[in-house]
Structures are given as C-alpha cells and as structure tokens.
C-alpha cells in the first residue's frame, strides 16, 4: 500500500514537467483557438472580445472555405493512396531481400527523408519551373514547354516525394514481422495470389497500413509550405487559408473558426478510419 502510494507520487513527479509544458504550450493554445473563434475582428485587425457565433455562421456560407477544405482532403487522399500503392510492393521487396541488402535499401529510403524538407520542395521547383529542368529538356527535344509549376500536380508530386518514407517504414516493419511461409501454406491449401494476399498478408499488415496512412495523411492535409511554394492559386490549401487569416490579412477569430472545423474534421476522419478498417476483416464473407 505504502509502496504503491510512493510509486504513484513518483510517477506524478516524473510526468509533471511534460504535463505542465504540454498543458501550457500545447493544450492551452488549442483551447484559446476555441475562445478566439467565438470573438469578432476589430477594424484594425485585432481581436474584439464580444461573444458571438457569427464566424461559424459565416463559415457555413463561405463557399471558398469549403472548396479549399475539399481540395485539401482530395489532395491528401490522392497522395495517401498513391504512396500506399507505391510503398506496399516496395516494402515487400525490401523485406524479402537478404539481410545485408535490406539495410542498404532502407538506408536508401532514409537519406532523402533526413534532408531538410524545404530543400526537398525546392528541388521540385528546380525540376518543374517554367524555365526548369524538365521544360529545358522538352525545349531541347523541340517540344512545347508545359506549365507544371503552380499547379495541383506539382503539389501532389512534392507531397508524395516528401511523405513516401513515412509510408514505407511502417509497412516495412509490418512486412518484416510477417511470417512469409504463411503465404506458402495458403497456396498449398489452394488459394490463388489475390486470395492469399487478401486473406493472409493484408490482415496481418493492416497495422502498418494504418500507421503509414495516418502518418502521411495528417501532414499532407495540413501542409502549408509545399502548397505555398509550388501550388500557386490552383493548389491553395487549408494551411494557406490559415496563413492568410493569421498573418497576411489578420482575422484571428475567423481563422480560429477555420482551425476548429479543420481539427474536428481531422479527428472525425481518424475515428472513421479506425472504425472502417476494424470492420474489414470481420465483415468479409467467408467462402
């Protein structure tokens, strides 16, 4: 009894610095966003402390906001799906190499991942720019230059480029743990490739897919720098909208309301994802 109380006190003591720091500089700011979203904007751009729902009412009618939110979700879904389709076979390939090769191949994935992400975005600007490397090549071949930069395509490419390792690494971890002789067993029992994959390998690597999908989806949907540098007006995403309302033309209450809807949507999406993926193996019809 005494020992457990002592343990309890020690655990609290150890947890308290993190609890205080995160409470003060993470939870309190997020809570403040809730308060801000219920105020209004004074004429000089500062916050006027008058309690009102007006920001939310205005947001509901703001078609530009919904278009931006929809575009962000659409881009994040496309990026997550493409990285998954590329990464799963890649992770499988790496996980089934001899041990020495596995380390080299993984290291090869990690190097771009460790380079500064602004550098990675900039590399795409060099490639896709109007006078960029690709257009120089096209010109050299006597073809018309393409308008590649300031587009959704540029944003999607750079996001896939930046987020790919976040998908490969959890998938690799799952596929490395997977007992590959189970596939042989499934074949011996008469399953074809698709069936063996779907019934044996996929359920056992689902945790890796979930981790990868969340790790890719969240930074992608909330990206600011990639769309800011490569997106132009066509690739204007929710992060840019927040930047607009908090920095460029300050309207913090309105920006806070946008943050709130965005956060709620994100938490809802994660919750939904866990519900749906949990039901896939159970809901499957036997035979």
């Amino acid at each position: 009894m005494l020992r457990s109380r002592q343990e309890q006190r020690r655990a609290w003591w150890q947890a308290s610095p993190a609890a205080i720091w995160l409470g003060l500089f993470f939870l309190a700011p997020l809570a403040l966003i809730v308060l801000y979203s219920l105020q209004s904007r004074a004429n000089d751009g500062t916050v006027l402390w008058t309690w009102t729902w007006a920001n939310y009412a205005q947001l509901m009618r703001d078609s530009a906001f919904w278009r931006t939110l929809w575009l962000s979700i659409w881009i994040a879904v496309v990026v997550t799906a493409i990285t998954l389709v590329i990464s799963y076979p890649l992770a499988y390939f790496i996980a089934t190499r001899p041990r020495r090769w596995r380390i080299v191949l993984l290291f090869g994935i990690m190097i771009p991942f460790w380079t500064n992400f602004l550098v990675r975005i900039y590399a795409w600007k060099v490639l896709l720019g109007n006078a960029g490397v690709i257009n120089q090549l096209l010109e050299g071949l006597g073809m018309q230059p393409l308008n590649l930069i300031n587009s959704r395509l540029a944003v999607i490419l750079a996001l896939i480029y930046g987020e790919l390792p976040y998908m490969v690494l959890p998938l690799y971890a799952a596929l490395e743990r997977f007992d590959h002789t189970q596939m042989e067993a499934a074949y011996d029992l008469g399953a074809n490739h698709w069936r063996a994959f779907r019934r044996v390998m996929l359920p056992q690597t689902m945790a890796g897919i979930t981790a990868g999908a969340i790790l890719v989806f969240i930074p992608t949907v909330g990206t600011f720098a990639v769309s800011d540098i490569l997106g132009g007006t066509e690739g204007f995403m929710i992060g840019n909208l927040l930047d607009l309302h908090f920095r460029t033309t300050p309207n913090w209450p309105y920006g806070s309301a946008i943050s709130m809807i965005f956060m709620l949507m994100l938490l809802g999406a994660i919750w939904l994802y866990f519900r749906v993926t949990k039901e896939v193996p159970d809901g499957e019809n036997p035979g």
């Binding site: 309890q8 609890a19 076979p89 900039y122 960029g132 600011f224 540098i229 913090w252």
Partner: protein, 295 residues
Amino acid sequence: MAKTLADARANVRHGGERPVTRKRVPWGAWALRINALLTYIFLYAPIVILVLFSFNAAKFGTRWTGWTSQWYRDLWQSEKLQAAAWTSIKVASISTLIATAIGTLAALALSKTRWRGRRAFDSAMYLPVIIPDIVLAVALLGFFTLSFRGLQSWLGLNLQLGLSTVIIAHVAFNISYVTVVVRASLANFDQRLEEAAADLGAAPWQIFWRIKLPLILPGILGGALLAFTLSLDDFVVTFFARGPGVNTLTTEVYGRIKRYVSPEINAISTVMLVLSMVLVVLSLFMQRRQSSRTV
C-alpha cells in the same frame, strides 16, 4: 541482447540469407524490381539535379553554362546565412536538451503501469503527432500574443515574440517524439535488474543513475537526435512563433526559395543536404558502436 534474439528469430523465419519469394508469379518478381527501381530514381533524381545545378555557372534559370564553385564561395561570405545557421543550431540544441529531459521523465512515468491520470497523460502525449503543425503554429501565435499582452497590462512585463518563443514551441512538439523513442528502449529494459539491485541494497537514485540510465542511454540519445533533426527541419512552427528579425536557416531559406530559383539556393541546399547526411552517418555509427558493445 533482446535485439539479437529478435534478429535471430527473423533470420530463422526468413530462411537465413535466402530470400523467401518463390517464382509463383512469373512477372511478379520483375514488377517488384521495376517498382523499386523507379521509386529510388524518383527519390534521388531531384536531389542529384539540385546538387548538379549548384555548380552551374549561369546566374539565372536552369540552362547549363559550365562548372563553377562561385556560389559556395558566396555562401561562405554571406553573414546573413551564417547568422541564420547559428540561430538554427542554438534553437535546436537548447530545445533538444529541454525536450530530452522532460520527454525521458515522461517515458519513465509511463513505464509504470498503474497510476491515476496515466491514460489521459498517455493520450495527451500523442496530440502533437495528430495535430497538424500549421494548427499548432497559429494557435501558439495567438497564445503568445494574448498572454504577453496580459502580462504587460497586469504585471508590466514587456515580453515579445522572439527566439525564446521559438525554443518553447520546439520543445512543445519535441517532447512527444523523445518520449516515444525512450519508451521503446524502456520496454526492452529488464525490470529484474532493478529488483536485484534493490535486493542488494542499492538506493533508488543509485539504481537509476548506475543501472537504468546507462542501459536506456542509447534510447535517450536516439530520442535527442530525433528531436534535434525535427527542430532543425522545422519551418512552419518557427515561422509563426518567431519574433521580427529572428531567422533560422529554414525561415531564411524559405524567403529566398519562394521568390526565385538560383544557383545560390542550390548551393545552400547542397550544404544542408551534406550536413543532414553527416548527422545520419553519425547516428548510425553511434548505434553500431552501442550494439557491438551490448552483443
């Protein structure tokens, strides 16, 4: 020790050095290889081109006009960039030290299974992973502005956004990552060692400093290294939490990247690239030494 056991088991399962893929699908193995090859090209082509063009003599555009090392010499003389690089290192070092201490303590607390508030604390620790950094960034901007105004009017304190707000913000998003890494190494820690030491009469502080800490040190160093890189890499939170005139390498580079493409930026990028590779090699080297010692 536990790691070598796990590796041994993985080796048995995978049939030793022999890859397990069978020639079940005739084109399958080739499709896998081509997918891997294309992905590696996709990952490396932009970087290679970036480095190549940092040696391009042309001041504008991406037309190749000959080799030069002038842009690197310019870098060496740019005081603005050097100041920004120093700021980055300062921010990363200080925030890493604080976040590592706090995050390690939090991991130690979480390694104890039963105490009140553990579940709430555990889920709060995952928030920084789930909340996009742009949301944290604008929230911190609002929070700092409001609380500084409050402190000004109540206590007459004159606080401003500046370097310290950037450091505070970096600690806030780094604690969780340190905790995740240290927790993993605490999971491998053999509880019986602690009990044995206690039976032999060691005081709690002796157990911690002489037994537990040395054994989880690689985890702590790994967490610190992750925090350091995340801090160096961060742009969005720094961009919003900094005061006027404060520039880290990322905010300094961002201003230039946004406006134009130039060989100078290619040169900065190449230097940053080389630096992060040095960091990676260093961390791998440290891990290698650690694992060769424990085996």
